[in-house]
């Protein structure tokens, strides 16, 4: 009996346990703010995020995990969310362009974008990351100087499932 147990213990196989790791890839959109924009004040009556005007363009990165599942709408500001009291009209201009991409095919986004009012609509036909820059400028009525103070405007980035 002793010999039998010894023999069996020699041939016993080590125990194995399997632990499964599961995961799934589902349609997902992530909006990242890579850079907050800053208004430059090149002349007294103008505020602009354009680097040539001393501003910084806000950069929004949108990641989508599945191709052709989302559209991105990016709206440049048409009013200040906070500012000193302004008594005259403002003329707003702005635009949004794709400035960096993770897949070369995304370069077609700029040509295919639809602009409705202040909103640029991009059809995210490819999976990956796309970086969008939004230019925004406001000119105070009749070339009046902007009153001193802090000016804040909001860029709205929306990712909508198709």
């Amino acid at each position: 009996m002793k010999y039998l147990i010894a023999t069996l213990s020699l041939v016993a196989l080590p125990a194995f346990a399997t632990v499964n790791i599961t995961g799934s890839v589902e349609a997902k959109c992530v909006i990242q703010t890579d850079k907050a924009g800053v208004y430059g004040n090149p002349i007294a009556s103008k505020l602009s995020t354009t680097p040539a005007d001393g501003g910084i363009l806000p950069v929004i990165r949108i990641d989508v995990s599945i191709a052709d599942a989302y559209t991105a709408n990016i709206t440049h500001p048409t009013s200040f969310s906070s500012s000193p009291t302004l008594t005259d009209t403002l003329v707003w201009t702005g635009s949004t362009t794709l400035t960096k991409m993770s897949a070369s095919g995304m370069s077609a986004y700029n040509g295919a974008k639809a602009v409705v009012g202040s909103t640029s609509k991009f059809n995210l036909t490819l999976a990956g990351s796309a970086w969008f820059s939004t230019a925004s400028s406001a000119v105070y009525g009749s070339a009046k100087p902007f009153p001193g103070g802090t000016y804040t405007a909001v860029v709205q980035a929306t990712c909508i499932a198709k």
């Binding site: 800053v38 804040t152 405007a153 909508i160």
Partner: protein
């Protein structure tokens, strides 16, 4: 040209800088909501259905998100959720349920969360992010 140890180290150093730079960039602030096509489930209340959503906030400057429900024409649809404006701390995952009356369900299409931006003391543009899932789509 001979590959000196200094020259050999240069690509390694550059690749490390790029990797760190990528990590820093990818660690940028993000708003994420899933699923894109949520499944509509029965709730514990008669004639009310619910959808289970998940939100992830890695936008350090954002603490609050607003929940909205719209029809195909972006008109608001009545719904109920524990908090219409909910606090989601930095790097926090939050699960939340949205309750919709059965009779409103055929009209309900877009379920969205929008980041609430705070007033600042710097002249700048802020980015408000909105992510919308579709209730009339195929569950992923």
């Amino acid at each position: 040209m001979a590959l000196t140890p200094q020259l050999y180290r240069l690509p390694v150093l550059l690749s490390r800088i790029i990797t760190i730079g990528t990590l820093v960039t990818f660690g940028a602030s993000a708003h994420e909501m899933t699923p894109a096509y949520p499944e509509v489930k029965m709730s514990h209340v008669k004639n009310v259905v619910k959808v289970e959503m998940s939100l992830f906030n890695s936008r350090e400057e954002i603490q609050y998100y607003q929940v909205d429900l719209f029809d195909l024409n972006w008109m608001p649809i009545p719904f109920s959720t524990p908090y219409k404006i909910m606090k989601v701390d930095y790097k926090e995952h939050k699960s939340f349920d949205v309750y919709i009356r059965k009779r409103d369900l055929p009209e309900a299409v877009f379920l969205c969360t929008t980041s609430k931006v705070r007033k600042t003391n710097v002249s700048r543009t802020l980015v408000s992010s909105t992510i919308c899932s579709r209730l009339d789509g195929e569950p992923a």
